[in-house]
Amino acid sequence: MSDRLVNEIRALLAREGFLAVDVAAIGDRDDLYRAGLTSHATVDLMLALEDRFGVEFPGRLLTRRTFKSIEALATALRELLPAEVTG
């Protein structure tokens, strides 16, 4: 898992205020929904990640599971991003 990618996701989660708690208190595998991520905020998060990384989530990744944790998001993004970005 690339630390850089995880840090980017963390920075974005903190900046946009998606969660009910401080993102620093959230582990990479912690459930973001339990941390206050609502369904509608998930859509905002999807669009923010797409803008930030210049990718588009395909239909098969538009599930709650994709957005469930920082680690899950990093896994999905690594799949969508060219290797040099995630490396």
Binding site: S39, H40, T42, V43, M46, L47, F57, G59, L62, T63, R64, F67
Partner: protein, 338 residues
């Protein structure tokens, strides 16, 4: 509500096993097989030729003949008898609600594409001349209108929540409301099962979480009985709303995962799967919080509603029992009081 993707059958306790969509052949006396290779617009042509629906030139906007209206009234009265013992409070609203209430309902978050708002001209004489000049020249004159305080209702129950919230905390046992309205959704289509203006009758239960859950379990069972009374082939399946956009897929998955919606589906058109004639929506405490609906104990109230599409039920009956209600099976005519 739409043609959502269903992934599971709904069991009484909310547990759901994956199931492939099944044809309703052989369930109930309806001559489903006769549907054959009909396509959606063909059924519309059939209904139009039989003098039931009158086309206006706008897809999803149809006139109704006396025979069609007699059927709608019979279905409405059947629903009144079906729910008579529930003792619901009957409320009726125009097919509109204050735009402010639509805005705070959260509807625009999920369904901006379905909303209709009422606009009107409020300009002076010069602006009126300019409007007529635009009209004459074939330009867009509607930009000279301004939004009014009125929006069209997308579902009959929307005016209920702010109205009840204004009364103060709910009584101990909560409330049960019977509401009905013409509804508007902007989804032009040649499918007669997808109308821009249609009638919806609803029961709305608002109260303690357990009461609302009991209401849900009750309607899972009563939905089956209702379809049986009308001798319609059906299945009951969990479903999701037609949320807007790609992000809507996440909302839909979430709604389905939480078992918040189920539908009673009847095959009406050959293409695109069966049609939801009854739709049950469980809001948990969303409307309670949004509209400030409080239980007797002061907690945000939970709510759920069950909606019946009157035109869709009429189309289901016409599809399965034939276009001439006088020749329908005796039992169906009896239950409809004709």
């Amino acid at each position: 509500m739409s043609a959502p993707v269903r992934t599971a059958r709904v069991a009484g306790g909310g547990s759901a096993a994956p199931v492939a969509r099944r044809r309703a052949d052989g369930r109930g006396p309806g001559p489903v097989a006769r549907v054959g290779t009909d396509r959606a617009p063909d059924f519309l042509r059939e209904l139009s030729a039989a003098g039931l629906l009158l086309e206006t030139g706008v897809p999803g906007l149809y006139g109704r003949s006396a025979r069609f209206e007699a059927l709608i009234e019979a279905i409405d009265q059947f629903l009144t008898r079906f729910t008579a013992a529930d003792g619901a409070e009957r409320l009726r609203f125009p097919p509109a609600l204050p735009r402010r209430e639509l805005e705070r309902s959260g509807y625009l978050e999920g369904f901006p594409h379905l909303v209709g708002t009422v606009h009107a001209f409020t300009g002076d004489e010069r602006e009126h001349r300019a409007l007529l000049a635009d009209l004459e020249a074939g330009r867009d004159w509607t930009m000279r209108q301004r939004p009014t305080a009125v929006a069209l209702v997308p579902a009959a129950c929307y005016p209920v929540y702010p109205t009840l919230a204004a009364r103060g905390p709910l009584p101990e046992r909560g409330v049960l409301v019977d509401v009905a309205s013409w509804c508007f959704r902007h989804e032009p289509s040649r499918k007669p099962t997808r109308l821009q203006f249609f009638r919806m009758r609803e029961q709305v239960r608002i109260g303690e979480p357990e009461a609302v859950r009991a209401f849900r379990d009750d309607w899972l069972e009563r939905g089956r009985r209702l379809a049986g009374d009308l001798a319609l082939p059906f299945e009951i399946a969990s479903a999701h709303d037609p949320f807007f956009g790609r992000g809507g897929r996440i909302l839909a998955a979430s709604q389905e995962e939480q078992g918040l919606k189920f539908e009673l589906l009847v095959p009406i058109l050959e293409e695109g799967g069966p049609t939801a004639c009854l739709s049950f929506n469980w809001h948990r405490d969303r409307f309670g919080r949004t509209f400030g609906l409080r239980t007797a104990r002061g907690e945000p109230a939970h709510s759920a509603c069950v909606g019946f599409g009157l035109e869709r039920l009429a189309l289901a009956l016409l599809r399965h029992h034939g276009l001439d209600p006088e020749r329908w099976p005796r039992a169906v005519r009896a239950v409809l009081g004709s």
